[in-house]
Symmetry: C2
Subunit: 612 residues, 2 copies
C-alpha cells in the first residue's frame, strides 16, 4: 500500500503519528524556506509542510499541480487552523517524499469553479471527474443505487440480469442493432428496456424482480437525452395498482432519507392525467407551487366533464385570439407592480419560437382594488374584475393570459407558469414534492396511419372496467375526423407516472396478462397475426402457461439522481456521457472499423450522406 | 394485493387465521368428495383442501397443472403432516377460489427431475425458470451479487457505471459492433470489459471502483461460453499486488460465508505459473487433491530451473515415445488392483482425440512390493522400482505414464489427473479450495506474425524488477526459431489469477501507469504510433496528467456462481442464456431487420454464405 491513511482522515487525535499519504498536488505555496502543499485524494485534502531540510530536494524535483505524490511524515497540530475542512487542524511535517508520477499542466483548473468549457471538459473527462462537484454527483448516484438495492432487497425483490443481445422489435423508438457474425444477415438489438423479460420472469414466478440496468434508444438526441441510459426496473406479481404505488413511493421516500436525510412523511399526492392537463397544462406538474391554470375558454371535446369559467363571447376580441380559441390564465402573486419593461420582457418571452404565442395579455390587480391591463381599450374595469374574480386573483397579483389553439396555448401557459415560478423562487432545489399522475389515455391517435398507438407501451392494461370496452369494440377508425368519438379514445390505462418537482422520474403500469387481450392490443396497433407472432410470439406463448396478474414500473436513474443533486443536466451525473451527436469525444467514438470486421460481419456501408 | 401471505410462510402459529394465497397449481389429488391441491409460488408450497361444498364449482372449473389460482380460507392443522416442507404442518381449508389464469399443459414437467430436453427447456425458458433447481441457481446468483456489493461497499469501493457504446479497439477477441445512425459509416463497439474506463477512473482519483457489469465478446462459442457475460470488475489505486490479493481473497471468503455459510479461514495458497505447469500441467490447478505430476523427462528450455527426475535414456523405448520426448507420470492411490478391463478403458480414454495420446503405460505397485506393468517386456522389476521411487508411488498405487511432445503430453497428463481425481471422488462439489496463480509470462509468442502478444492484456505491468528489461530491449524478434532466448520471453507479469477448484474464477494485474512504458508495450505488440494514438490516445493522454499506481481484477460472475452452485454449466446460472450458436431460441434472436432499419443505418448485407 502506498499510504497508511487517506487525505481525509487525520485529526487532532492522530498528532505525533508517523503516516504516509498519497495523492495529487492541489496547490504549492512557498514561504521562504518552507513549502506548503495541499495533497488531495478522493477523501479530502491534507496540508503537507516541507521544512528547510527538504528544500534542496524540492528544488531538484519541482512539484506541479496534479503531480502524484507520496509523502511520509509526522502529524502535527497546525498553528493556523482551517476549520472549514475536516483535516484543517493538522498538517504533516514531511520527512520523505516521492513523486509517483508527474503531470502536464491540466487544460483547465481542477476546482469547483473551473475555467474549462464544456467541450474541453468532455474531451478530458478523466480530469473533469477529479473536480469535487462532479465527484459529489457520482457519489450521490452511488448512494441512490445502494439505497434502492437495500430497500428492494428488504422487500423481497431479486436482482435478475436480463440479456443485452435481444431481438429487434421496433415499437416507437428505434433500436440499436448489432450484426451477428455467427448468424450472417441477422442482427441482435440492444434492449430499449427489459420490459418483456421482466414480464416473462413474472410468468416464471419470480414475483418481485428488479434491476438497475442500461437501456438503449437510437433517437435524435435532445438537450438532455443519452443514447444509453440507466433504469431502475421493477416488476411485481399478484398486485394491483395500489400495491405498486405504495411500494414505490416507499422506495423514493427511503432514497430521500438515505441520501438527503429528508423525512418525506406526507402522503404522496395523486392526480389524474386529465386534472394535470387541466390545472397545470402538462402531465408532469411541478406542485411545489400553486399558480394553477384558469381555464377561461377551452376545447370542450378534450375536457367533456369540465365547465368553462367564462363565456367565450367575453373573449371575442383580437388580442385574445378571437372567439372559440382556448383562453388560459394564471394569477402571478405579488407582481402587480411590474414595470412596462418587465411586462414587455414577459411578452417577448412568450413570443419566442420555443413558446410560440402571438402575444400576452396582462391585468395588474392593484392594491387599491383597481385594475390596469394591456387591453384597457377593449375591457372596462367591470369586465376586468370579472376576469380577476374568475382567476381568483387578489390585490397585488398579476394576471397573465394566453390565447390560441388548445394544445399550443396549454403548453405555453404551462411553460409560462414554470418560468414565473422559477423567477419568483417557488422552485427550490432543496424542496421535493412527489406526485403520482394516473389514468392516462391508453391510446394516442396517429394521424399519418389513421390508427392507434400505445401511449405507454403495448403491454399496459386498460383500467379493469375498460377491458370490456377494448375487447368488444373494433379498433379500426372508420372516420378519421371523429377519432375522438371512437370508444378506444376514452379507454384509460392502468398506468401511473411518478413526478418529482415537475420531472417524470418513473412510470409504469399494470400489464396485460391474458393472451386474448394482448392480441387485441397488438391488433389495435396495426399488427397482423403474422407480425405478432414474429415479434412477440414468445410472450403470447408464455401467456398460455399460467401468467399471473402483474405490474411494475421503471425509474429513470440518471434523471432521478440529477434532480436529487439539484441539477438540470443528467450528463453531470454520468461518469462518461455522450454529447448531443451521440459521440464520446474523449474516446472519439463511434469511429470507423476495419475492412476485416466488415468482412467477418458480411455487411458493407451504403452511405447516402457524406461520411462524417 | 391478490394474497395475504405467500405459499411459503404459514405455520402452526397461523392456525385459524383467514388467509388468501395466490400461486400455481403444482398437483391436484382427488379423494372422493375432497380435493387436495398443492399451490406453489416462489416461496414454497402450501396444501389447499377443497371440501365437499366446493366440488360442484371445481367440477365446473376444473383445475390443471400450472393454473394460476387465488384461494381464500382458514389455516388448519393437518392430520397428515409432511415435515419435509416448512409449511407441511398446516393446510388451508378453502372457502372461495378464483382461477386467475388458465394454463395449457406444459411441454415438460415443472419438477426438479424434469422430462424436458435441453432444447425444449431453452425454448420455453420461462417455464424452465419455474423449476426449483433453476430458481435456486438464480437465488444463489443474487446472493453472491449482494454479498459482493456489501463487502466492497464496506471497503470503500464505489459502483460507477461505464459506457456500453464505446470504441472498437480489437485486441485479441473480436468486438461486437453497433452501427451509428447519427454518424453514418461509423460504429460503436460493445465493451469486452470496462478495462480502460476503470483505469481512467483511477486517473480521476476514484481510488476504489467496482461494477457488476455485462461484457461482450464475439468469439466462436465453446461449450460453456456466452457472447454476453457478467464480470465483477474492480480496480484500486495506491496499491501493490499484495494489497489486491488480500482485498479479493477477503471478498471470496465473505461470499463463502454469506452464501454457503462456509468459514474459509485458512490462508489462500499461492503458486507461480511455472510451478502450476510443472506440478499440475495447467495454469488453474485443482488443489483439492494431490496426485501431482512427476516430471520424469521434460523440455528443459521451458523449465530451465528444474531437474529431471530420471535420465531420459531410461525411457528410450518405443511405448514411451522415444528418447528426448517428455515423459510424465502420476501415481494414482489405491488403484493397483485395477483389472485389465479398467486399464484398457483408461488407455482408450487417453487415446480419444480430445486427449490425443498414442498410448498409456501403467505400473501397478502391488501390496507385496512387486510390480506389474504394461511394459514388462522392456523393463525388469528393478527398473520399475526406480520409476516407482521417482514418482513417490507406494504399495497399492497405480502409476500412469504418458509420453510425447511437451505441450500435448503435459495437457494430457493434466486431464488424466483430473479425470482420475473425479473417478476417485477427490473433486467434491462441497469442498472449496482457492489458489492464487501468479508470475505469468508477460508475453506469448505469436508464430504467424513473429511478434509478441500480451498474455493478459496490454495494460498489465511487468514485475517491478522486469520493467527495466522491457524498457531497455528492442521487442523485435530477430530469430524466430530462438524466440525463447529473447529477453522479453523471460519477463514476468505483475498478474494473478484466482483459481477455485480448478477453475479460473478471476484474474487481474498491477497496471502500467507510465506513458513511456505503455507506449513500449503497445510497440511490442506491433502497434505503430499512429495506431496507438487512434486506438488508445485517450489513455496515453490520461497518463500525462498524474496517473496513480493502480491495479485490479475481474471475476467471472457466471462461472463463480456455477462453481458455488456445484454445477459445471454457467448456462444454468443465467436467466436467459444463449445456445452454442449465440442464439436465444426463446426469442428467436438474432433475426432479420427491416429495410427501413438498413436504410437509416446506411449499411447493407454483403453475404458470402447462405443466409441462415
Amino acid at each position: 500500500m502506498y499510504r497508511s491513511h487517506t487525505c481525509g482522515e487525520l485529526r487532532m487525535a492522530d498528532v505525533n503519528k508517523e503516516v504516509t499519504l498519497s495523492g495529487w498536488v492541489q496547490t504549492v505555496r512557498k514561504f521562504g524556506a518552507i513549502t506548503f502543499i495541499d495533497l488531495r485524494d478522493r477523501y479530502g485534502i491534507t496540508q503537507l509542510l516541507f521544512g528547510e531540510s527538504l528544500q534542496n530536494e524540492l528544488d531538484a524535483n519541482p512539484l506541479g499541480r496534479e503531480f502524484v505524490l507520496q509523502a511520509k511524515g509526522n502529524v502535527n497540530e497546525r498553528s493556523n487552523k482551517n476549520l472549514n475542512i475536516a483535516t484543517g487542524e493538522i498538517e504533516i511535517v514531511v520527512s520523505e517524499f516521492k513523486i509517483l508520477n508527474k503531470s502536464a499542466v491540466p487544460p483547465f483548473k481542477i476546482e469547483d469553479d473551473t475555467d474549462g468549457g464544456d467541450d474541453l471538459r468532455m474531451k478530458y473527462r478523466y480530469l473533469d471527474l477529479r473536480r469535487n462537484a462532479v465527484k459529489k454527483n457520482l457519489e450521490l448516484r452511488y448512494a441512490v443505487g445502494r439505497s434502492t438495492r437495500n430497500y428492494l432487497h428488504e422487500n423481497n425483490f431479486m436482482d435478475i440480469e436480463t440479456p443485452f443481445l435481444i431481438k429487434s422489435t421496433p415499437e416507437g423508438a428505434r433500436d440499436f442493432v448489432v450484426p451477428s457474425r455467427m448468424n450472417p444477415g441477422q442482427f441482435y438489438a440492444l434492449p430499449q428496456s427489459p420490459q418483456t423479460f421482466k414480464q416473462l420472469l413474472m410468468v416464471s414466478g419470480y414475483d418481485r424482480y428488479y434491476q438497475i440496468v442500461k437501456c438503449f434508444r437510437d433517437e435524435d438526441l435532445r438537450a438532455d437525452r443519452q443514447p444509453e441510459f440507466t433504469q431502475i426496473d421493477c416488476e411485481m406479481s399478484f398486485v394491483e395498482q395500489e400495491d405498486i404505488l405504495n411500494m414505490f413511493e416507499g422506495l423514493v421516500k427511503r432514497i430521500f432519507k438515505d441520501v438527503k436525510n429528508i423525512d418525506y412523511t406526507e402522503k404522496v399526492e395523486r392526480m389524474s392525467w386529465e386534472e394535470a392537463m387541466w390545472q397545470f397544462g402538462n402531465d408532469k406538474p411541478d406542485i411545489r407551487f400553486g399558480m394553477k391554470i384558469n381555464n377561461l375558454v377551452f376545447d370542450k371535446s378534450l375536457f367533456p366533464n369540465k365547465q368553462a369559467v367564462l363565456d367565450e363571447e367575453m373573449f371575442a376580441i383580437p388580442p385574445l385570439g378571437g372567439g372559440g380559441a382556448t383562453v388560459l390564465a394564471i394569477a402571478v402573486p405579488g407582481c402587480s407592480e411590474y414595470t412596462r419593461k418587465q411586462t414587455d420582457e414577459i411578452t417577448e418571452w412568450v413570443k419566442r419560437p420555443q413558446i410560440g404565442m402571438k402575444g400576452l395579455v396582462f391585468i395588474k390587480c392593484n392594491a387599491d382594488g383597481t385594475f390596469k391591463s394591456s387591453v384597457d381599450k377593449f375591457y372596462n374595469e367591470e369586465k376586468l374584475k370579472v376576469i380577476a374574480d374568475a382567476t381568483n386573483a387578489g390585490a397585488g397579483d398579476l394576471i397573465l393570459i394566453l390565447a390560441g389553439a388548445e394544445e399550443r396555448t396549454r403548453k405555453a401557459i404551462s411553460e409560462l407558469r414554470l418560468e414565473m415560478g422559477k423567477r419568483l423562487g417557488f422552485r427550490k432545489d432543496n424542496e421535493f414534492k412527489l406526485l403520482w399522475v394516473m389514468d392516462f389515455p391508453l391510446f394516442e391517435y396517429a394521424e399519418e396511419d389513421n390508427r392507434w398507438v400505445a401511449r405507454h407501451h403495448p403491454f399496459t392494461s386498460p383500467k379493469p372496467d375498460h377491458i370490456e370496452v377494448m375487447i368488444n369494440n373494433n379498433p379500426v377508425i372508420e372516420n378519421a375526423a371523429e377519432y375522438l368519438k371512437h370508444p378506444y379514445a376514452a379507454i384509460k390505462a392502468n398506468a401511473y407516472d411518478m413526478v418529482l418537482n415537475g420531472n417524470e422520474i418513473g412510470g409504469g403500469s399494470i400489464r396485460i396478462f391474458q393472451r386474448e387481450l394482448q392480441e387485441k392490443m397488438f391488433a389495435a396497433l396495426g399488427m397482423d397475426e403474422a407480425e405478432q407472432q414474429h415479434k412477440f410470439g414468445f410472450l403470447l406463448g408464455a401467456f398460455e402457461y399460467g401468467a399471473p396478474p402483474h405490474g411494475g414500473l421503471a425509474f429513470g436513474f440518471d434523471r432521478l439522481c440529477s434532480i436529487l443533486g439539484g441539477s438540470e443536466s443528467i450528463r453531470d451525473f454520468i461518469a462518461f456521457p455522450k454529447n448531443n451527436s451521440g459521440r464520446d469525444v474523449m474516446l472519439d467514438a463511434p469511429s470507423t472499423i476495419d475492412a476485416k470486421q466488415f468482412d467477418e460481419l458480411q455487411i458493407k456501408l451504403d452511405l447516402k450522406t457524406p461520411n462524417a
